[in-house]
C-alpha cells in the first residue's frame, strides 16, 4: 500500500520540484576524481545495445550505465523518480504524458528529444524480443506533442507501467546518433546513442569493457573517471580478484563464499532484498498434489530458516505469503487475515497429512534445474519431508531440459525462481486458464476457485493503489491457504566491494548502478 502510494506521490512531487535542473541535483558527497573503478562481472555481454538483442543478465550492468531510462527506480522507497522525464501525468488509464529534460545529449553529441522516445520503443517492439516489456505498448497511440513532451500509450491498463519504464530494457537512445553510427546493428558493438553517465570506450571481447565518464552528463558527474568491467566467469575467481584488490567490486558472488568476507573490514557486502521468489511449485493437476492437505503438510514440514541459512548463507528473506516481503503487493497474514502455512511446524504438518488421502506418506519426484542453491534445497527438502514419511526423488536436470519438462506438465513438483516485480506476472503461475505450455511453467491449479480468477483479472487492471492492495490481499488469502506453491525464500541481490567504495546501488529494476559510487577513506 505504502509503496504504490509513494509512486504516485513522487510523480506529483516531481512536477512541483522541477523548475531548473540545478535544483534537482542534490549535493554530491564527493568531487569527481581521475580514478578507475574495476568491476568483476560474470560473463561476456552478447552486445551493448539492449533494444535489439535478447536481454540476458550479463548485459544489464553495462547497459545500465550507458543508457538512461525515462524514469528511475529508488529501491529505498520502492518508488519511481525522474530521470530523462522530469514529470508525468496519467491522461487516462492507458495514456501517460511525459515532460522530458531539455539538456540531454547522447554520447555522440546529438540532443535527446521526444521523437527519440518513440524511436526507442519502436526499435524495441520491432526486435520482437521481450514480449513482457515491449508488448505492452500501443505504438499507434504513442505520440510526440512537442520536442520535450511525449505521450506513451499501453494496450491495457498497466499498474506497473512506470516501474517497467525504469527498467534497463527500456533505456533510451537518440535516433540521430544511431543513424550516424551506421544503424542499430552497429550499436551492439559501438554504442554511441545512449545518454547515460558513462560512455563506451573499448570492448576486449571476453576480457574487459572500458567505460569513461560522460563529461556532458545532465546529472551528477560520476566520481570515477573510468570504469573497467572485467569479465571473470568463475564466481570464486571474482571474489579472489576482489581480495587481491585486482577489482573493486565483485558482482554475482556465490553466497557461500561471502562468509569468508564477512567481518573483514576491508570489504563490504552489499545486500539488497528483491521481489524475486524461489518457490516449490506443486503440480495441482494430478495426485498427490491435487489434495490441499498434502500441499499444506508439505509446506509446514519444511524448515525455511534452516534451509535459507544453509543453501543461501542467509542472503535472502522469508515471507508468510507466496509474495516476498519486498513485493509491492505483499500483504502479511495478519493484515490479510489469512492462515499461513509457510513456516516449520512438524506437528501441524502431520495433522494435515493425517487428513489427506495419504496419511502414511507418498512418493514424488522433485524437479529442478541444476544450480547450487537448488541442489541444497532439494536435499534439505528430501530430508525434512522424510519425517512425514514422504519419499522425495530428486530430479536435477539441465536448465534447457527443465523447461521441456514443465512445459509438458510432466512433473510432480518443481523448484523455480519467480522473478518479476509485477505481482500480476507472478499470478500467472496460479492462473488455471493458462496451460503449462503457454506459461512455460506454473502449478496447473485446475480447481482454483472462480473467485480467484476474477480477483486476478481485477488486480491486473486496478491502478488505484489502495484498491490494488485490497485485491491482492484477497488473492493472497486464497492462494496462501490453498498452498499450490511454497515460497522457499526470496533471494537477495548481493555484491561484494572494497569498503572504501561507497554509493554502490543495487536495485531490482536496474541491477547495479555504480555511476554514483565514490571512494571515501
Amino acid at each position: 500500500m505504502k509503496k504504490l502510494a509513494a509512486l504516485f506521490l513522487t510523480a506529483v512531487m516531481a512536477v512541483g520540484i522541477v523548475s531548473g535542473s540545478a535544483l534537482v541535483h542534490a549535493e554530491t558527497p564527493y568531487t569527481p576524481s581521475d580514478e578507475t573503478l574495476v568491476v568483476a562481472h560474470k560473463g561476456n555481454p552478447t552486445g551493448l545495445f539492449h533494444l535489439n538483442i535478447s536481454a540476458v543478465s550479463v548485459n544489464t550492468p553495462i547497459s545500465e550505465t550507458l543508457y538512461d531510462r525515462l524514469v528511475s527506480y529508488d529501491g529505498e522507497t520502492n518508488s519511481v523518480g525522474p530521470m530523462l522525464a522530469t514529470e508525468w501525468e496519467y491522461i487516462d488509464d492507458t495514456h501517460v504524458r511525459f515532460k522530458l529534460r531539455d539538456d540531454v545529449v547522447s554520447h555522440a553529441g546529438d540532443p535527446f528529444k521526444a521523437s527519440d522516445v518513440i524511436y526507442s520503443i519502436q526499435t524495441a517492439v520491432d526486435s520482437g524480443a521481450l514480449g513482457n516489456y515491449f508488448g505492452m505498448f500501443n505504438l499507434e497511440e504513442c505520440q510526440v506533442e512537442d520536442d520535450y513532451t511525449v505521450v506513451l500509450a499501453t494496450k491495457n491498463v498497466e499498474p506497473y507501467f512506470l516501474y517497467t519504464l525504469s527498467n534497463v530494457p527500456l533505456g533510451m537512445v537518440v535516433q540521430a546518433s544511431v543513424e550516424a553510427n551506421g544503424g542499430i546493428e552497429a550499436q551492439a558493438l559501438n554504442p554511441v546513442a545512449g545518454t547515460g553517465p558513462y560512455k563506451f570506450v573499448e570492448w576486449s571481447d571476453g576480457s574487459y569493457i572500458k567505460l569513461e565518464r560522460n563529461e556532458n552528463y545532465w546529472g551528477d558527474t560520476p566520481y570515477f573517471k573510468n570504469v573497467e568491467i572485467r569479465i571473470i566467469g568463475d564466481a570464486s575467481a571474482r571474489i579472489m580478484n576482489l581480495e587481491s584488490h585486482d577489482v573493486n567490486i565483485a558482482l554475482d558472488p556465490d553466497t557461500i563464499q561471502l562468509a569468508g568476507l564477512e567481518g573483514n573490514p576491508e570489504f563490504t557486502i552489499i545486500n539488497y532484498p528483491t521481489s524475486n521468489s524461489t518457490d516449490l511449485l506443486m503440480n495441482c493437476s494430478k495426485a498427490p498434489f491435487n489434495d490441499e492437505h498434502v500441499r499444506r503438510a508439505v509446506s509446514l514440514a519444511m524448515n525455511y530458516e534452516a534451509n535459507l541459512m544453509i543453501a543461501a548463507s542467509g542472503y535472502g528473506s522469508l515471507s508468510d505469503s507466496f509474495l516476498p516481503l519486498a513485493s509491492s503487493a505483499y500483504v502479511s497474514a495478519e493484515d490479510g487475515g489469512y492462515q499461513s502455512y509457510f513456516h516449520y511446524d512438524l506437528e501441524a504438518a502431520k495433522a494435515e497429512l493425517a487428513q489427506s488421502a495419504y496419511p502414511d506418506g507418498f512418493e514424488f519426484e522433485l524437479l529442478y534445474a541444476e544450480a547450487p542453491a537448488f541442489n541444497t534445497y532439494g536435499e534439505m527438502i528430501q530430508n525434512q519431508l522424510g519425517e512425514l514419511g514422504i519419499k522425495v526423488t530428486l530430479v536435477p536436470v539441465a536448465s534447457t531440459v527443465f523447461y521441456d519438462y514443465v512445459t509438458a506438465g510432466d512433473f510432480d513438483a518443481h523448484i523455480v525462481n519467480l522473478a518479476n516485480p509485477d505481482p500480476a506476472m507472478i499470478l500467472r503461475d496460479f492462473d488455471s486458464r493458462i496451460d503449462f505450455k503457454t506459461m512455460r511453467g506454473g502449478c496447473g491449479w485446475v480447481d482454483a476457485p472462480q473467485e480467484l480468477l476474477d480477483l486476478m483479472d481485477e488486480a491486473k487492471v486496478t491502478l488505484d493503489p489502495d484498491k490494488s492492495k485490497e485485491v491482492y490481499g484477497k488473492i493472497q488469502k486464497i492462494i496462501n491457504e490453498a498452498c499450490p506453491a511454497a515460497p522457499l525464500y526470496s533471494p537477495n541481490k548481493v555484491c561484494a566491494a572494497d569498503s572504501s567504495i561507497k554509493g554502490i546501488i543495487l536495485t531490482e529494476f536496474s541491477d547495479i548502478d555504480f555511476s554514483k559510487a565514490y571512494r571515501a577513506e
Binding site: 535478447s54 521481450l130 514480449g131 572485467r230 571473470i232 566467469g233 568463475d234 575467481a237 579472489m240 531440459v401
Partner: protein, 322 residues
C-alpha cells in the same frame, strides 16, 4: 616429403567434416531451442519465427549441414553467431592468437622444465631427486586444473598479492594461467621423458659413446636425449591438444579473451555456430600440430625419413610398372 605434407593436409578435410558431423548431430539432439537465446524467452511468436528463418533453422538438418560444410570449405565461412549475429570466423580469429599463445607458452615452459627433470630422474634412477620428481609429477598430473587455478589465485594473488588475478596486461599476468595449464604437462612430460630415457641409457650406443671418451653429460644429452625424444614428441602433440582444453578453464578463470572462453559462453547459450566454429578451428589446429609432430619425427629420427622415402619410391615404381 612435400607430397606427404600435401596429402596430410588434404586428409584434414574428411577429419573436419567428420568432426562437424558429430558436433552438428550433438547440436540437433541437445535439448533447448537456440531461438530462445537469440530473441529471449519472452519474445513474441513472430519474432521467434523471424529469427528461426533468418538463421535458417527452419530448413531440414541435412540441408543446413551441407550448406554449412560448403560454406566452411568454399568461403571459410563458419556461420553467424546466434547470440550477437557476428560472423563466427571473425570472432574466432581475433581470439585464436590468444589461445594459441597461451597453449604454446604453457607447453614450451612445461617442456623446458620437464625435459631436464625427466633426464635427471632417469640418470639418477631411484635417488631422492628421482623420487621427489616422480611423486610430484604424479601429484601435478592428478590434481584437477580448476581447483589448482583457484589455489594459484589464492596463494599468489590473494595472499601474497604478487601476481594479478585477472586480465592480460603484460608478462606478469601470463604467469598464473601458463602455470595452471603447464603444471600438469610438466608432470606428464617428465614421466614420459624419464621412462623413455631409462630405456635409451641402457642401449649399446650409449655405451659406445662412453667408450669413445665422451663426457657423461654430453652422452646423455647428445646421444641419449635425442633418441629418447620420440615418445616425448608424440606426447607433446597430445599435450598441445590437452592444453587447448586447459586453456578453456584458464581463460574463464583468469579473464582471458580466447577461443576457449568464447566456446564456453557459446555452449552455455546454445550458440551452435560459435561452438561448431570453435571446434573446427581447434580440430584443424590439432591436425596441424599432429602433422608438425610427424615432420619433427622425421627430423629427429632419420630412420623414419628413409622409410618414408623408400615407401614413396616403391609406390612410384609400381605406378610406372602399371
Amino acid at each position: 616429403m612435400l607430397r606427404y605434407i600435401l596429402k596430410r593436409i588434404l586428409w584434414m578435410i574428411p577429419v573436419v567434416i567428420g568432426v562437424l558431423l558429430i558436433v552438428f548431430t550433438l547440436s540437433v539432439i541437445t535439448p533447448g531451442d537456440p531461438v530462445d537465446n537469440m530473441v529471449g524467452p519472452d519474445a513474441t511468436v513472430e519474432a521467434r519465427e523471424a529469427a528461426r528463418e533468418e538463421m535458417g533453422l527452419n530448413q531440414p538438418v541435412y540441408v543446413r549441414f551441407v550448406k554449412y560444410v560448403w560454406g566452411v570449405f568454399t568461403r571459410l565461412d563458419l556461420g553467424t553467431s546466434y547470440s550477437n549475429r557476428q560472423p563466427v570466423a571473425k570472432e574466432i580469429m581475433h581470439r585464436f592468437p590468444v589461445t594459441l599463445k597461451l597453449t604454446l607458452a604453457s607447453v614450451i615452459v612445461a617442456l623446458a622444465i620437464a625435459l631436464p627433470l625427466g633426464v635427471l630422474s632417469a640418470v639418477k634412477q631411484y635417488s631422492w631427486v628421482d623420487n621427489i620428481t616422480m611423486a610430484s609429477a604424479l601429484f601435478f598430473v592428478s590434481i584437477p586444473q580448476f581447483w589448482f587455478a583457484l589455489m594459484l589465485l589464492l596463494i599468489f594473488s590473494v595472499k601474497l598479492q604478487i601476481l594479478p588475478a585477472s586480465g592480460i596486461n603484460g608478462i606478469r599476468s601470463w604467469i598464473l594461467p601458463v602455470a595452471m595449464i603447464g603444471v600438469g604437462n610438466v608432470g606428464n612430460l617428465a614421466r614420459v621423458t624419464r621412462s623413455s630415457m631409462l630405456e635409451v641409457i641402457r642401449q649399446d650406443y650409449i655405451r659406445t659413446a662412453r667408450a669413445k671418451g665422451q663426457r657423461k653429460s654430453v652422452v646423455i644429452f647428445k646421444h641419449g636425449l635425442r633418441n629418447a625424444l620420440m615418445p616425448v614428441i608424440a606426447n607433446v602433440g597430445n599435450t598441445i591438444g590437452v592444453s587447448l582444453g586447459g586453456a578453456v578453464v584458464a581463460e574463464s578463470i583468469f579473464s582471458i579473451p580466447g577461443v576457449g572462453q568464447f566456446m564456453l559462453n557459446a555452449i552455455n547459450s546454445r550458440d551452435w555456430p560459435s561452438v561448431q566454429g570453435g571446434i573446427v578451428v581447434l580440430a584443424i589446429t590439432f591436425s596441424i600440430v599432429m602433422l608438425l609432430v610427424d615432420i619433427v619425427y622425421t627430423i629427429v629420427d632419420p630412420r623414419l625419413k628413409t622409410e618414408f622415402q623408400a615407401r614413396a619410391k616403391t609406390k612410384r615404381k609400381k605406378g610406372a610398372a602399371a
